[in-house]
Amino acid sequence: MGFFDVANSRLVYLLVVFVIVFVFILSIIFARKAWKRGIEMGISKDILKRVVKQSLIFTLVPSIAIVIGLFALAPALGIPWPWLRLSVIGSVSYELMAADMATSGMGMSLAEASSGGPAALGNIMLVMTVGISAGMIMLLIFGKGIMNKVSKLSASKSDFAHVVMACFMIALAAVFIPGILAKGTIFILTFVTSLLVTAIQAIIVEKYKVKWLKDFILSFSLVIGMASSILWASLLG
């Protein structure tokens, strides 16, 4: 039996579909609980519906990018395993890196993974699972404690407690944005385009009271920013 006979076998598909269906049901349970609690708290249905609409529209483009990541992994690892990893736990950028590191640890490139036979597949699957599970285990043990501490901080009357909460967002921007800008001119231009598109939309929403646009700002900026990268790449690439 070859690498892909196992990687694309009925058993692997069956197991993968089982896990994905479980996580899909879990997503429904979480969304339903949040909706119900929102109503109980007095958040209007209109706001909750807008949140759902905004989330669905925004999800479209990044999800398509994930499918493209699936196409990148499938020739090396078959279809079901990348399908599982990109639907559950994994991230499109981490999975490519993890698969590459797992195969290079065996002395081969990701593209050559199949030359190691089914044994290589077993090893890759186990290594990738162990590698990325630390976060989930950490969340299981410490998540509740962290969330309770944050709740207390937010409920605090101290001004500085709210400043600390804001710092998490600020630190996120301070870490990710320089890394993007340092990658080169096209990255900078794409970032600036998306930023400007966001600012213009925010002004339109504020000044002309175009309420519906607020729900689309993030999605429009993402798509226009990505589209602009094609222009910048053709001009400068």
Partner: protein
């Protein structure tokens, strides 16, 4: 009607049970496959191929938990289960908080983020499943050079779209001038990226170091009066809608 404490207890229970079952299922898949096809690696093989990956991914994923859990609240459970955090779930939840005018850390933000990540996860799972079903007809379209370029630049577009939202407070509690706390970490990370080592893929680890530094800068700025907190009694509809 449930109290806030009852809801928290319930959502933590669901989250932790869901998390535990997912971990078990994720390990079960390779273990079952290795058992059925008799392809278990030897311990030596496993260690040789996993050491490099573990050295990077263990601290990375742990720092992600420490950095994102305070921002996502109980939505963190589903976010970490479904993955794609920085490229999809976090921006989606943050956008939803902005739409609802919710301040991160509050119960309202927790509920909104959970709803947002829940529906987002469902749609992502459906789209990836469609991608698998339509793999053959879709592949030539999704591998067009223009599509590939646009996808390569998704992260700068995403952060361009998100930058203002990250720097500006949403909800009833407004932290004015909070961006000032980010100047020193921003410059430091920029210098490291440009002249020391590109941090691509290691942002989680950098984040865990920059959060305390940002808080320290904020403490100084707050003392000097450069950062102030304002409590809004009423948010306007345009700011997210006060119920």
């Amino acid at each position: 009607m449930r109290t806030s404490e009852q809801y928290k207890k319930e959502i933590h229970k669901t989250g932790r049970i869901g998390l535990l079952i997912t971990i078990l299922l994720l390990f079960a898949v390779p273990i079952i496959i290795c058992s059925v096809y008799d392809i278990f690696p030897t311990f030596k093989q496993f260690m040789l191929s996993s050491s490099g990956l573990l050295a990077i991914f263990v601290p990375l994923t742990i720092s992600e938990v420490i950095s994102f859990t305070p921002l996502l609240g109980s939505a963190a459970y589903l976010t970490f289960i479904t993955g794609n955090i920085m490229n999809l779930k976090f921006p989606c939840a943050k956008g939803a908080m902005d739409v609802a005018g919710a301040t991160p850390g509050t119960e309202k933000a927790d509920v909104i983020a959970t709803l947002s990540v829940g529906v987002s996860s469902m749609l992502t799972i459906i789209i990836i499943a469609l991608g698998v079903l339509l793999l053959v007809p879709l592949e030539p379209i999704l591998q067009l050079p223009a599509v590939k370029t646009a996808t390569d630049y998704m992260l700068p577009s995403l952060f361009g779209a998100l930058a203002l939202s990250l720097l500006k407070s949403s909800g009833d509690i407004q932290v004015k001038g909070a961006w000032k706390a980010g100047v020193v970490p921003f410059v430091l990370i920029l210098v490291v990226n440009l002249f020391v080592y590109p941090l691509v893929g290691l942002e989680g680890v950098a984040l865990i170091l920059m959060i305390p530094l940002t808080i320290l800068c904020a403490k100084i700025a707050h003392k000097k009066g450069w950062i102030n907190v304002e409590y809004l009694n009423e948010t306007t509809e345009i700011q997210g809608g006060k119920e």
